[in-house]
């Protein structure tokens, strides 16, 4: 690709982020029925979780299925803090981030020397331990409830208002993580992902930087859990199951494990795919309808699996890279057309 195509592609990339964000704001503010707004809220919540997990999995190269556990930790912590008179917004969110970060640190300290499958199994163990603890907590304290967040007299209630808050939180997370990635620390994590030993010999404190990624990633994922708790207005250990953990992993890989935009795209695709299949269940007729109703949940998993296989075979960097390829192709055509016109 020549320099002018590069420049065109780069210029488009610069406009793409703000354009997508403006589009998201318009979609949210335009309103819609409750089901539609709920699905958009889920996209926002999962996008925050996926960006958190992308830091650990995609940027630092540490395999993990701990996403649901950290969301659960965040959700239960936020609910517990919000139950106190002093637990006003945004304190529950901050407490969730701290709790997630502390558990992330403990997980990191115990698994920091593990790699690949062994690390993945350790995070699976965390999922089971977290489920057990949440179940026990729920058993002793009964159902936990939480009201929509309020600032003064303004309540971020169900629908547009809450989704607007989700956009703000997602934006803060993306800006923080993006700035980290663009700095020297981003290169350090990238080096660790590509070759831990070479990073070590380049004088990088590999264990230290991996721990920071564990803490930061877990804190962000816990914030997603806290936002989920606010959305549902109650929490249950059953929400943060292994199925959810695998869904988050799918979001990161399908969207594109190396890019923040990939994590957000992955969250949108996986969430809306589930929603689309549910709609088919409801609107289908005759034999197809009953078959979909019966097999809907299995079909979701089968479609994730098929999509993952396709992505691994044809574009390991996910949907985000497919779009980037498309952008470059269009940029090349535009540049050629301009050259011919001139």
């Amino acid at each position: 690709m020549n320099e002018s195509v590069h420049q065109t592609a780069r210029r488009w990339r610069d406009y793409l982020g703000p354009a997508l964000l403006a589009l998201a704001a318009i979609i949210v503010l335009a309103g819609g029925d409750a089901v539609y707004m709920y699905q958009l809220a889920l996209v926002g919540i999962y996008a925050i979780a996926a960006v958190g997990q992308q830091w650990l999995i995609g940027r630092t190269g540490q395999a993990s299925v701990g996403g649901a556990a950290f969301m659960g930790i965040g959700a239960f912590t936020a609910t517990a803090v919000a139950g106190h008179a002093w637990g006003v917004f945004p304190l529950p969110i901050l407490a969730a981030a701290v709790a997630g970060g502390v558990v992330g640190l403990l997980l990191g300290l115990t698994t920091v020397r593990l790699r690949g499958l062994y690390l993945l199994l350790s995070t699976l163990a965390l999922e089971y331990i977290a489920t057990f603890v949440m179940q026990e907590y729920e058993g002793q304290n009964g159902g936990e409830f939480i009201n929509f967040p309020k600032i003064g007299a303004f309540t971020f209630g169900q629908g547009e208002r809450y989704n607007l808050l989700l956009i703000v939180v997602l934006l803060i997370v993306v800006v923080v993580v993006q700035n980290l990635y663009r700095s020297a620390t981003g290169r350090t994590w990238s080096a660790i992902r590509q070759n831990e030993e070479a990073a070590e010999v380049a004088g990088i404190n590999v264990l230290g930087w991996k721990l920071i990624a564990f803490v930061g990633s877990s804190a962000i994922t816990a914030v997603a859990g806290a936002m989920y708790a606010y959305q549902l207005q109650s929490v249950s250990y059953q929400t943060f199951s292994l199925d959810l953990a695998i869904s988050i992993l799918c979001m990161v890989y399908l969207g594109g494990q190396y890019r923040i935009s990939g994590a957000i795209l992955g969250a949108a695709v996986v969430t809306l795919l589930q929603f689309g299949l549910q709609q088919l269940d409801d609107t289908g007729s005759g034999g197809l309808s009953s078959w979909l109703t019966l097999n809907g949940p299995t079909l979701d998993t089968a479609i994730y699996g098929a999509l993952l296989v396709l992505i691994m075979l044809f574009e390991r960097e996910g949907i985000a890279q497919l779009l980037a390829n498309l952008r470059d192709m269009v940029a090349a055509q535009v540049t050629r057309f301009r050259g011919e016109s001139a």
Partner: protein, 241 residues
């Protein structure tokens, strides 16, 4: 010692043994000294423990759960068996393969070791790197990757540079340039260099002293001026080169 050498005792290895978990010996009771400015080439057939020796000195074997015994002192101070701490003490290891990060550019590699501008690498004398400043390392040739790894190593101001198989898979003319650069680097920064290689001719060209390993033990040690490639071949291959 090359004229111009300054303070420091260099590296002193005494009775170093590395044993694997299954009881196999990586290297046994290896002792030698390398002065500042000096290049020691470690020669031997495949699997005789050359890389194990380097990794044992750099601390990697201890981290991997392999038993390491013996003393390794750099400038009179005992070296840690943790690669990170050894690195802080001035030990830099250039591994045999996977020594660069494919998705990072040449510039980003230097930023990892706190080298900012292109001008800063001019003293390293690697013009091809300067020309490939914004290229991703995954797109560099084998020789350019070796240059990048060596330049990054030198940028860390090592007291001891450990280089594993510098000549592996490279054209003789590139190997010659790299060895020349290694010689200049050793003399300019007064560091000790341990170079593992299988190419006796290349080793003779650059090294001050040579050490031949067989079955993890030192079978020959001497100055490079006192031997020939043919003699070296008989030491470790049992036949002339």
């Amino acid at each position: 010692m090359t004229p111009g050498a300054t303070s420091g005792d260099g590296i002193n290895v005494s009775g170093l043994s590395v044993t694997y978990r299954n009881g196999a010996t990586g290297c046994h009771d290896v002792s030698f000294k390398v002065e500042p400015d000096e290049i020691l080439a470690v020669l031997g057939r495949n699997g005789v423990g050359k890389t194990t020796l380097l990794r044992g000195i750099a601390g990697f074997r201890a981290v991997e759960g392999v038993h390491v015994h013996g003393q390794v002192a750099l400038d009179g101070t005992q070296l840690s068996r943790n690669p990170g701490k050894a690195s802080k003490a001035g030990v830099v290891f250039v591994p045999e393969r996977d020594k660069v990060f494919p998705s990072l550019t040449v510039q980003e590699h230097f930023r990892l070791v706190n080298v900012r501008g292109r001008d800063a690498i001019e003293p390293f004398g690697f013009p091809p790197l300067s020309n490939r400043w914004t290229s991703r390392a995954g797109l560099l040739s084998g020789g350019e990757r070796q240059m990048l790894a060596l330049a990054m190593a030198w940028a860390q101001h090592p007291k001891l540079l450990l280089v594993d198989e510098l000549s592996l898979g490279l054209a003789p003319v590139i190997v010659g340039q790299l060895l020349q650069k290694l010689r200049e680097m050793a003399e300019r920064s007064h560091m000790s260099v341990i170079l593992v290689d299988q190419d006796a001719v290349a080793a003779l060209r650059v090294a001050d002293s040579l050490l031949v390993l067989d079955h993890g033990e030192v079978v020959w040690r001497g100055a490079s001026r006192d031997t020939t490639a043919a003699e070296l071949g008989t030491h470790y291959l049992g036949t002339g080169v």
